[in-house]
Every structure is written in structure tokens, then in C-alpha cells.
Symmetry: C2
Subunit: 242 residues, 2 copies
């Protein structure tokens, strides 16, 4: 699958197929960044993997300059780490980093849930959120890892969107949590997975009930569960960082 497109005459084979919200957000570098993030969710890129520039330029059919722009972007988001003269690597998160990340993410998600609960004033929004939560739980039940990570991301997007605070969407480090999720997805127990997945439905229900306090508590509990899971994970879930 995904055979490399031929560039017989040096023509670009790239056609925009991402979010068409704004016509000014479609550059080659963004496309590459999106491809890598998607690859992490799908498992084709694993934490610690070395990203070799000449290799990627060939596989993605872009120039080195655009690729380096993308890597810079990803490094700023904490998805890859750049070592001078040694290249780019998919970032690996050790246990403390994950706990720090959760600690940082929690107040942001609580805020997002509170805002969403205050602003969830149309059936469309409520339905979208409930559907997003259901999709996450579904993907988790089916152990479809790529779909789960994708749907989970979508759930948070909808949550933030309903809250109508665009700065939140900019700040919440979702791609980095994708990295963490990708690391532990294959290791956590079935019960941990189910417990975690059920949290999204609870958050969604509290939001559509327009109960900010309950939504806040639901997120808090959700994170407490995740923290517990991280504490129970064996040490080999966290690769020795380069």
C-alpha cells in the first residue's frame, strides 16, 4: 500500500486533501507534518525512530527545505527531537515526562470541559460531542488503534470548538499526548483501556447536561484514572530516551 508516487517529469503529485477550512493553510511542509503525525497514530512511525532527511524526501516526494520546515514545526510541538548534526528522532516520553504532561494537560482539559458545558446551547453541538465520544469508545472496543487515536483527537477538537476559546485549541498539546497514547496503547491492560474509554462518554454527557461543575469533575476523574494507569505500567513501556 501507499506506493511512492512517481515523479517521472519532476512534477509535484501532491494534491491538498486535508482540512479545507482555510485556503491559506495548505503548504507542503504542513502536509509532511500531518503525514508524520498520522504515521505516529497509525504506528508506521514509532517513538525513537530516526528520521533521515534524504529518505523522507524521497518517500514523500518533497524537497529537503520543505521537509526541514516540517521537522522544525514538529520539534516546536514536541513531537520530534532535533539533535544538531545527528538528525531528527520521533520523541520518546519517559514516565516523569508523561506525568508532567498529564499534569499540564489536566487543567486545560478541565477548562475546555467547563467552557463547553457553558456554551453547549444547540442540539447540533450536543450531538456532535456525543457522537465523537461514542466513536472513541467504539474504536477502543474494537482495538483499532489508529482510529482510536484519531477519534480521541477529534473528541477534544469538538470539545474545544464548543467552548469557543481558540487559544485553548492552540495550546493544548494534543499531538504530544498522541505520542504518549501510541506508546502505551499496546501495553495497557484491557480493563485500563475500557475504563479510560468510558471516561469520554461521561465527560460528554456532563457537557450536554450543561453542568460545568460535573464536566470538570468528569475530566478530573478521567485524568486520575490515566495517572493511575501510567503508574501501573511496567518500566519497559518507556523506552530509554536517546
Amino acid at each position: 500500500m501507499a506506493s511512492t508516487a512517481q515523479d517521472s517529469s519532476g512534477r509535484v503529485i501532491s494534491v491538498a486533501n486535508e482540512d479545507a477550512s482555510n485556503p491559506d493553510n495548505t503548504s507542503a511542509a504542513d502536509k509532511v507534518a500531518e503525514t508524520i503525525i498520522r504515521g505516529i497514530r497509525a504506528g508506521t512511525f514509532v517513538p525513537g525512530q530516526h528520521l533521515v532527511e534524504p529518505d523522507l524526501t524521497r518517500r514523500l516526494g518533497i524537497s529537503r527545505g520543505s521537509l526541514r520546515e516540517a521537522l522544525k514545526h514538529l520539534a516546536a510541538a514536541g513531537i520530534v527531537t532535533l539533535n544538531r548534526f545527528r538528525g531528527a528522532y520521533i520523541a520518546t516520553l519517559d514516565r516523569k515526562t508523561v506525568l508532567d504532561l498529564l499534569q499540564t494537560l489536566e487543567p486545560l482539559c478541565r477548562l475546555a470541559a467547563r467552557l463547553a458545558a457553558e456554551k453547549c446551547d444547540t442540539p447540533q453541538k450536543a450531538d456532535a460531542l456525543l457522537a465523537a465520544a461514542a466513536a472513541v469508545e467504539d474504536a477502543s472496543r474494537q482495538r483499532n488503534r489508529a482510529a482510536y487515536l484519531e477519534d480521541r483527537r477529534h473528541f477534544y477538537s469538538v470539545l474545544v470548538e464548543i467552548g469557543q476559546n481558540h487559544e485553548l485549541g492552540r495550546v493544548i498539546p494534543l499531538p504530544r499526548t498522541d505520542l504518549f497514547r501510541a506508546q502505551i496503547e499496546t501495553i495497557q491492560t484491557e480493563r485500563q483501556r475500557q475504563t479510560h474509554a468510558s471516561g469520554y462518554g461521561k465527560i460528554a454527557r456532563a457537557v450536554v447536561d450543561k453542568d460545568p461543575a460535573a464536566a470538570d469533575r468528569a475530566v478530573q476523574k478521567h485524568f486520575a484514572g490515566t495517572r493511575k494507569t501510567v503508574g501501573e505500567l511496567p518500566e519497559n513501556a518507556f523506552p530509554a530516551l536517546v
Copy 2:
């Protein structure tokens, strides 16, 4: 292999939102980004200003590729906005965006203050934080805008560093708040300025008293004051965004 000597020299912290582990972090693009951020604090770059690539490459003495890497980086941080085929502009924040930004920043800063209050266990840390707060208040009193913005940034860096949660430092959108501060610095009243500046000392004192709850409240009050100031600002403080 000889084990690397652990660096326990207790140096002052200089991390903002960048990767700090790399010893020689001086790439041309990073240098440019730093120059632009500093220029915003100093006032040589004003919100809304058009950044023309050929002009900047000449003035900064770097190639266009490196400049574009830097602009990409800054765009990811929300400091410049990139309009396809229309160039890069220093971002402008309208009132709602500023309020959203404050709302997002507040729980992060409260967390940072709580963590710092829990972990402020050496006189060095306490002194560094108090000194940073004093510097901010000093610069504000002297109406030295560049120094004030610089010191304010340093204060938050120290606060985050004491808390020992590196993810916080990565997530807190300080450069973007610099932008906001740069916008209102010349407009707010003297009393607003003084009230705001005094907040840093209060936060610092609560932290060195190792009282997380008090530190949390101090940050909360600080943000309430800032929010009030933003509400009182005239409409012309927020340039019509391009």
C-alpha cells in the same frame, strides 16, 4: 564510557519554550526567531507589521531558507501569522483573543505557582524568584518596557523551573503574551501598570512561603486584575486585524 558528570551547578534558568537539553542550540533559524521575539519586546517590531523576506534576509544576514524556518517556528508559536502568498505579519490580538489567552494561561500559571510553592526548598530558588519579581517591579517602575517584558518572561521561567514540570514550560504561551503586553504597554494607565507589577511580588512571596494555596490565589488575583485592565482598555488598543 565515562559517565557524564551530572551538572549540579545550580545555574540560573534560561528556558522559555525552547528545547533546553542541547548545549549548542545556536542554529541560524533559532537566532532569527529570538531576534524577532526580542524585537517585539523592544518595540522594533510592532503588531501588524509586514515581515518581508528579502528585507529581513538582508538585515539579519541569513539566507531565505533559514529565515523561512524561523518564520515557520514563530507562526507555530502564534507570534506571526503566515498568509499564503501574502507574507508574514506580526500577529495582532483582538480583545476576545486576549481574554481567551488569559483564560487559557491562568490555570497553567496557577499550576506553575502551586508546583513552585511545593518545590521551593532551597534558598537559592527562593532568592532567584524574589530577585526576578523585584526586577519586574523595578523595570515597570522605570517604565523600561523592553526590560520589563524581558524580566517578566524571566520571572515565569524561574517559576516554572522551580516547579520542575518541563511540560509546563513548553506549553505556556509566553511569547504570545509578550505580544499582548507589547500592545497594551503603551496604553494602560499608571495605576494599572503598578497594580499589575505588584502582583509578581505577591506571587513570589507566597511561593517562597511554601504556601501553594496562597500562591494559587495570588495568581488568580493577578489574572483578575489583568482581565479588568483589558476590559477597561479603549478599543483602539486592539488594532483591526489584517
